[in-house]
C-alpha cells in the first residue's frame, strides 16, 4: 500500500509533464488543425538551453528566463519556417514537414552536444520531504504545482481575456475571425509561441528527474500524444486528465510488470483506446471530416 501511494505520487508527477506537452499539442491542433510532431523537441531544446545557461554561470532563475525566451523565439522561427509556408496545403504535407523539423532539431542538438546525456540540477536545495509513508520529491512537487497553476492560467487566459477569445475564435472559424478584424496569422503565431514555451517549460521541469538527452523529446511527445487521444482529441481537459492517467499507468506498469518495456505501456493503452473508444474519455469527434 505504501509503495502504491509512492508510485501514485511519482506517476502524477511524470503525468503532469505529459499533460503540459499534451496541452501544447492540443492548442496548436485547435488553431491550425495540424498535429505538431516537433512538440516534444520543444521540451528537449528547452532542457538543453537550460543546461547551457546554467553552465555559463547564470543563476537558476535567470537561466530559466533565458531558456523560455529562447523557446518563444523558436516558436516564431518554427511557425515561419515550417507551418506558415504550407498553411494552404492539406494536413499530410504539414505533418511531414513537422516530422522533418523534429528530426532536424533533435539531430542538430546531437551534432552540437554529442550523445552524452547532460545532468541538470533541481530547483530546490532540499531533495524532498517525508509525509507519512510517502516521500515527496521536491522536483515532482514543483512539477505538480506549476501544472496546477498553468491549468488555472490557461482557463483564465482563454475564457476571460480578449486575446484568449480571439484565439478561440480563430481556432473555430478562421474565415469568420478574419472578417471580424482578427489577424489570423498573428493569432497562429501567438499559438506557436505559447505552445513552444509550454513545451519548453515541461522540458525544463522534467529535466532534473530524467537525464537531458536527445531522445527525451520524442519519448515525451509520444506519451503526450497518447494522452491527448486517451483524453479526447482536441479537448483541453482531456489532455490533462489523459496525461495524468498515462503517467500513473506507466509508473505502476514499470513497478509491477516490466521496467525495460515501460515505454511500451503507453502504446498498448493507446491501441486499446483506438479500438474500443477512439473518441477518448471526453471527446465527441471521432474522425476528422474530409
Amino acid at each position: 500500500m505504501d509503495l502504491a501511494l509512492q508510485l501514485l505520487f511519482t506517476g502524477i508527477g511524470i503525468g503532469a509533464v505529459y499533460a503540459l506537452v499534451a496541452l501544447g499539442f492540443v492548442l496548436i491542433f485547435r488553431a491550425t488543425n495540424v498535429v505538431n510532431f516537433a512538440q516534444g523537441e520543444f521540451s528537449m531544446v528547452a532542457a538543453y538551453l537550460m543546461v547551457v545557461a546554467v553552465e555559463a554561470g547564470l543563476p537558476y532563475w535567470a537561466a530559466f528566463i533565458v531558456a523560455l525566451l529562447g523557446m518563444a523565439l523558436l516558436g516564431v522561427v518554427f511557425n515561419l519556417g515550417v507551418y506558415y509556408p504550407l498553411r494552404h496545403r492539406t494536413y499530410l504535407p504539414v505533418i511531414i514537414a513537422t516530422i522533418g523539423a523534429s528530426i532536424l532539431l533533435a539531430n542538430s542538438v546531437l551534432a552540437i552536444y554529442g550523445p552524452q546525456p547532460q545532468v541538470l540540477e533541481g530547483w530546490f536545495e532540499t531533495p524532498g520531504i517525508q509525509v507519512g509513508p510517502v516521500y515527496l520529491d521536491s522536483q515532482y512537487l514543483l512539477i505538480i504545482g506549476v501544472t496546477i497553476c498553468l491549468v488555472i492560467f490557461n482557463f483564465w487566459f482563454f475564457e476571460k481575456t480578449l486575446l484568449g477569445k480571439k484565439l478561440q475564435a480563430t481556432s473555430q472559424d478562421k474565415e469568420m475571425a478574419s472578417l471580424l478584424g482578427i489577424s489570423v496569422s498573428t493569432m497562429i503565431m501567438i499559438t506557436f509561441i505559447y505552445s513552444a514555451v509550454l513545451g519548453g517549460l515541461a522540458g525544463i521541469l522534467v529535466a532534473p528527474v530524467l537525464f537531458v538527452s536527445i531522445q527525451m523529446g520524442s519519448t515525451i511527445a509520444l506519451k503526450a500524444f497518447a494522452a491527448t487521444i486517451i483524453g479526447g482529441f482536441g479537448d483541453v481537459a482531456g489532455a490533462i486528465i489523459g496525461g495524468l492517467a498515462l503517467g500513473v499507468i506507466e509508473t505502476f506498469g514499470a513497478a509491477y510488470i516490466s521496467v525495460p518495456y515501460k515505454d511500451g505501456f503507453a502504446f498498448l493503452v493507446l491501441v486499446a483506446f483506438l479500438i474500443f473508444r477512439p473518441q477518448g474519455i471526453f471527446g465527441e469527434r471521432v474522425a476528422e471530416k474530409a
Binding site: F29, V35, L92, P93, I99, G100, L270, E288
Partner: protein, 592 residues
C-alpha cells in the same frame, strides 16, 4: 430529345488496346538487361554492397509509394516492417535452421499481419493518429529487438545469416535481388491502373467522394497499408540474406525517416521515383562521408531536406519530370471515340424507386430533419425544395449515407439501405453529385468517370480495362466533354467540372440519381445546357431526385415536388399544384 452531335448512331470503333505484356515489353527487356548485368559484371565488395543496399531499400520504399503516394496515408514505421522481415530471415536461418525461402515468406506474412492489425485499429480515424501510432509501433519493435535477448540476441544482433542454396555467391544473390526489384517495381507501377489502384488514388484525393462512388474507403486504406508493410518485410528479408548480419540500430525510427526522405525526394507516387530517391540518398552520403564523423549532422540534414522538399518540390524529382511529360501527352494524345451512352436502371422493386418513411436526423437537440416521408416514382424527375436551413442537404446526406439516420427507413428499389455505409448504397444503385464539387483532383476526367463506372454491381460495363474506358468515354461524351477526356480536372471550368461529376454518376448506371444543387454557380447558358442534359437523362428512364434553389429549373424539369421547411414536409405532389400551395408560398415569401 437527344442532342444530335452526341447521340448520332455512328458505329463507334471499339476501344481495343494491345495486350499488357506487349505494351510493357520494353520494361521487361530493360529489367532483363539489368539482371544480366548484375549477374555478370565484376564489382568490388564496396560497390557490391552499395548496390545490394540500394536494391533492397528500393523495395521497401516501393511500399511507401503505395501507401503514401497512391493512397495518401502515412507510415512512419517502414523500418520496423523492414526489420520484422530481416529478423525473420536472420533468426529463422540461424537459430531455427529453417530454409531461406520459408523464412522470407514467413517474414512477409508477419509484416503483412502486423500492418493489417495496425491499419485496422487506426485507419478509421484521421491521418494524425496513423502517424503517431506508427511511430509508437516503431518504438515498440525497437524495444523488443533490444530487450528480448532470448529471441533476438539483443543489441549484438544476429550474424551468419544464410542465403538460399541457389544464390550462394554474392554476385548471383545481387542478380536475384535486382530481379525481385524489377518484378515488385512492375507490380507497383501497374497497380495504379488497376481497380484497387484507382480506388487508392480516389481515397487519397477525396475520401467522401470515393465513398459515394462505391469504394470501401476503410478497406482500401487497409489494403494499401498492409501491402506497404508486406513490401517492407520482403525487402528486409532480402537485406538480411545479402548482408548476413542484422542488429536493432539498422531498423530504428531514424531509418524509417530515411525511407520517408527517399520516397519524398524521388517522388512519392511512382516506383521510378522511389528508385531514384533511394539511389541518391544511398550514394550522396557515401560521397559525403566526412559528415558521418559528426553524429547527428547527417540526420539533421535529412530533416532539413524533408522540410525543403515538401515546401519546394512536393512531387519529388520524378514527379517534376512526369508532370511535364503528362501535360505534353494530354495535349497530343487524342482520346478514343465513343458510342452512345445507354442507361438501364435496375427495376427490381415496384412503382416507387425510393421510399423514405419517417426519416429523422437530430444533431443534439436540433431536429434538422424530422419525420419526413418521400416517395420517388420510377422514371421521373422529383424535386426536393425548401428555404435555406429547411433540411434539404441533410436529407440528401442521410440518403447517401454520409450521416446516420436518427430514425426512419430508406428503401431503394426494394432494398432497405437505412443502415448501409455509403459505398454499399452506391453498390445498391444510388448515384449522387455534390453541391461543392468533389472530384478526384489529381486524375484526368476519364479516370474520374472510370471510378464511377467501376461501381460494384454495374451491369452496363463488360470485363476488362477496355470495357471500362469505353463506358467512361460514353458517359463523358454524353455530357459533351468526350474530346477533353485526358485532361486533368484542374483545367476544366466550374460548370464543366459539374458535368464531369454527373458523368461519373451516370457511368455507374445508377437506379436513382441524386443531384445536390446542380445549378448552383452556373451561368444562364450553362443552366440551359443542364436542363437539356436532365431531359436527355430522364428520357432514358433514369429516375432523378434533384435539390435546387432555381425555381425555373425545378418547375420545368420536375413532375413531382416535395417541400421541406424546418425539417418537416409541408407539401408534396404534382409540381404546379405544390408551387401554388399556400404553405409553400408563405414559406418562401413569408406570410402576412
Amino acid at each position: 430529345m437527344s442532342a444530335p452531335s452526341d447521340n448520332m448512331p455512328i458505329p463507334a470503333p471499339a476501344i481495343r488496346s494491345k495486350p499488357l505484356v506487349i505494351r510493357h515489353l520494353p520494361y521487361f527487356v530493360g529489367a532483363a538487361i539489368l539482371v544480366a548485368l548484375a549477374a555478370n559484371m565484376r564489382f568490388d565488395g564496396y560497390v557490391h554492397n552499395i548496390l545490394l543496399q540500394a536494391t533492397t531499400f528500393s523495395i521497401a520504399v516501393f511500399g511507401l509509394s503505395v501507401v503514401l503516394g497512391l493512397c495518401g496515408q502515412i507510415n512512419l514505421a517502414q523500418a520496423a516492417f523492414f526489420g520484422l522481415g530481416a529478423y525473420a530471415v536472420g533468426i529463422g536461418t540461424t537459430d531455427l535452421h529453417a530454409s531461406f525461402w520459408l523464412c522470407l515468406v514467413g517474414g512477409c506474412l508477419i509484416s503483412l499481419l502486423a500492418g493489417a492489425f495496425l491499419g485496422m485499429s487506426t485507419l478509421r480515424l484521421g491521418g494524425h493518429y496513423l502517424a503517431m501510432v506508427t511511430i509508437s509501433f516503431q518504438q515498440i519493435v525497437t524495444l523488443v529487438m533490444i530487450n528480448a535477448i532470448w529471441l533476438t540476441h539483443g543489441p549484438d544482433g544476429v550474424s551468419n545469416i544464410k542465403r538460399p542454396d541457389l544464390f550462394q555467391s554474392s554476385q548471383s544473390y545481387l542478380a536475384f535481388c535486382v530481379a525481385m526489384l524489377a518484378i515488385v517495381g512492375y507490380l507497383v507501377w501497374h497497380l495504379s491502373d488497376t481497380k484497387l489502384g484507382r480506388a487508392m488514388r480516389a481515397v487519397r484525393d477525396n475520401e467522401l467522394a470515393a465513398g459515394v462512388n462505391g469504394i470501401d474507403v476503410f478497406r482500401t486504406k487497409i489494403y494499401a497499408f498492409a501491402l506497404c508493410a508486406l513490401l517492407g518485410g520482403l525487402a528486409g528479408g532480402l537485406f538480411a540474406g545479402g548482408f548476413a548480419y542484422v542488429s536493432p540500430d539498422q531498423f530504428s525510427f531514424a531509418e524509417s525517416i530515411v525511407f520517408l526522405t527517399m520516397s519524398l525526394l524521388g517522388g512519392v507516387a511512382s516506383p521510378i521515383g522511389s528508385t531514384i530517391g533511394t539511389g541518391l540518398l544511398i550514394l550522396i552520403p557515401e560521397w559525403l562521408r566526412f559528415l558521418k564523423s559528426v553524429p547527428g549532422l547527417y540526420l539533421a540534414i535529412y530533416g532539413l531536406f524533408v522540410i525543403l522538399i515538401i515546401r519546394f518540390m512536393p512531387d519529388g524529382i520524378w514527379g517534376f519530370v512526369a508532370d511535364a511529360f503528362a501535360r505534353w501527352r494530354a495535349k497530343t494524345a487524342a482520346p478514343p471515340v465513343a458510342g452512345a451512352l445507354h442507361l438501364k436502371p435496375a427495376t427490381v422493386g415496384g412503382d416507387t424507386v425510393l421510399e423514405v418513411t419517417g426519416l429523422s436526423k437530430h444533431f443534439g437537440g436540433l431536429k434538422a430533419v424530422d419525420g419526413v416521408d418521400i416517395a420517388v416514382k420510377r422514371g421521373g424527375v422529383h424535386a426536393l425544395i425548401g428555404p435555406n436551413g429547411s433540411g434539404k442537404t441533410t436529407t440528401l446526406n442521410v440518403l447517401s449515407g454520409l450521416y446516420e439516420a436518427t430514425s426512419g427507413r430508406i428503401v431503394l428499389d426494394g432494398t432497405d439501405i437505412t443502415h448501409m455505409p455509403p459505398h454499399q448504397r452506391t453498390a445498391s444503385g444510388l448515384g449522387r453529385t455534390f453541391q461543392n464539387i468533389r472530384l478526384f483532383r489529381s486524375m484526368t476526367a476519364l479516370e474520374n468517370v472510370e471510378i464511377g463506372a467501376e461501381r460494384p454491381g454495374n451491369t452496363m460495363v463488360g470485363k476488362g480495362d477496355d470495357a471500362l474506358t469505353e463506358r467512361a468515354m460514353e458517359a463523358l461524351t454524353f455530357v459533351g466533354l468526350g474530346s477533353r477526356a485526358n485532361e486533368l480536372i484542374s483545367s476544366f471550368s466550374y460548370g464543366h467540372q459539374r458535368l464531369i461529376e454527373i458523368a461519373r454518376a451516370l457511368a455507374s448506371n445508377p437506379t436513382l440519381l441524386l443531384l445536390d444543387e446542380p445549378a448552383a454557380g452556373l451561368n444562364s447558358t450553362e443552366k440551359l445546357e443542364l436542363h437539356e442534359l436532365l431531359k436527355r437523362i430522364a428520357a432514358q428512364g433514369l429516375t432523378i431526385l434533384i435539390i435546387d434553389h432555381d425555381m425555373t429549373l425545378v418547375s420545368e424539369a420536375a413532375q413531382h415536388i416535395t417541400v421541406l421547411n424546418f425539417g418537416r414536409r409541408i407539401a408534396d405532389g404534382e409540381s404546379m399544384a405544390v408551387l401554388r400551395h399556400p404553405d409553400v408560398v408563405s414559406a418562401y415569401l413569408g406570410s402576412e
